[in-house]
């Protein structure tokens, strides 16, 4: 099964709507609540990062019996030093992003802690791509 969402940079009133919709899908698929939470926390952090730091983005999700694969690709400033960006506390969030409750510099770490695999690639001035996989322990009912 495939699910696709688009994300608008800078639009905080809509930030999280993709994650919210996909959470409903996971509930319908009877994924266990602990796994749902891991998936949506990682997805939501990544979705908010597009809203906070990039211009626009696309989310493509593939669900099969064993795993959920999520690809988030954005057009944006990119990340010059991914290792530095991963460090807790590092943030370039603007004042307006901080006003929305983000900018602690914890998001990428949160993502990493909730997924089974994470791959980040980025090109400065072009954009960023996150690929993450969460294994499904319980069986999804069709």
């Amino acid at each position: 099964m495939n699910f696709n969402y688009s994300v608008e940079g800078g639009n905080f009133s809509k930030a999280g709507t993709a994650s919210s919709q996909f959470k409903k899908v996971l509930k319908q698929l009877n994924v266990d609540p602990i796994t749902i939470k891991r998936i949506v926390v990682a997805l939501y952090e990544a979705e908010v990062n597009i809203v906070a730091h990039a211009w626009e983005g696309k989310i493509d999700i593939e669900v099969d019996m064993e795993k959920v694969y999520i690809n988030l690709a954005d057009k944006g400033p990119g990340i010059a030093d991914i290792n530095q960006a991963m460090k807790p506390g590092f943030s370039t969030a603007s004042p307006s992003v901080r006003e929305m409750g983000f900018g602690a510099g914890m998001g990428l770490m949160n993502i990493k802690n909730n997924v089974d695999s994470l791959h980040i690639s980025s090109e400065v001035g072009k954009g960023t791509e996150l690929e993450m996989t969460i294994n499904l322990s319980s069986i999804i009912s069709k």
């Binding site: 939470k37 006003e99 949160n110």
Partner: protein
């Protein structure tokens, strides 16, 4: 302790979720940082926050937080209330500061997360 007891301690107004006031609360987390809230994995949790915008509710939805107190006279917007109702969230507004609210709830025996 039930949420209705917490409402009394904080002299708080119930904005939505009246039907859930008998929920048990054992732990409290106080933060204005949404990524911090997203690290939590505790049942029967109450979130105290001074952050009053739609992301407060979105974040709670993702983190399975269903009980929220807005401190220091911050009023919830209609948009926040609608989304909170959809997610069966109890939301309270209180006039006390974050410090005073935390102090009162700690004294009443509620537990910290970390």
């Amino acid at each position: 302790m039930k949420i209705k007891d917490i409402a009394e301690i904080l002299n708080a107004k119930v904005v939505c979720g009246e039907q859930f006031l008998n929920r048990e609360i054992s732990h409290v987390f106080a933060s204005d940082l949404m990524s911090d809230v997203l690290t939590i994995d505790t049942e029967n949790l109450l979130l105290l926050t001074g952050l009053t915008n739609i992301q407060t509710i979105r974040t709670s939805e993702m983190a399975d937080v269903t009980n929220i107190v807005l401190v220091r006279n911050k009023a919830a917007s209609e948009e926040m209330i609608t989304l909170a109702k959809e997610n069966r969230i109890v939301m309270l507004e209180c006039s006390y500061s974050m410090f005073k609210s935390c102090g009162l709830l700690y004294q009443a025996g509620l537990q910290p997360v970390y």
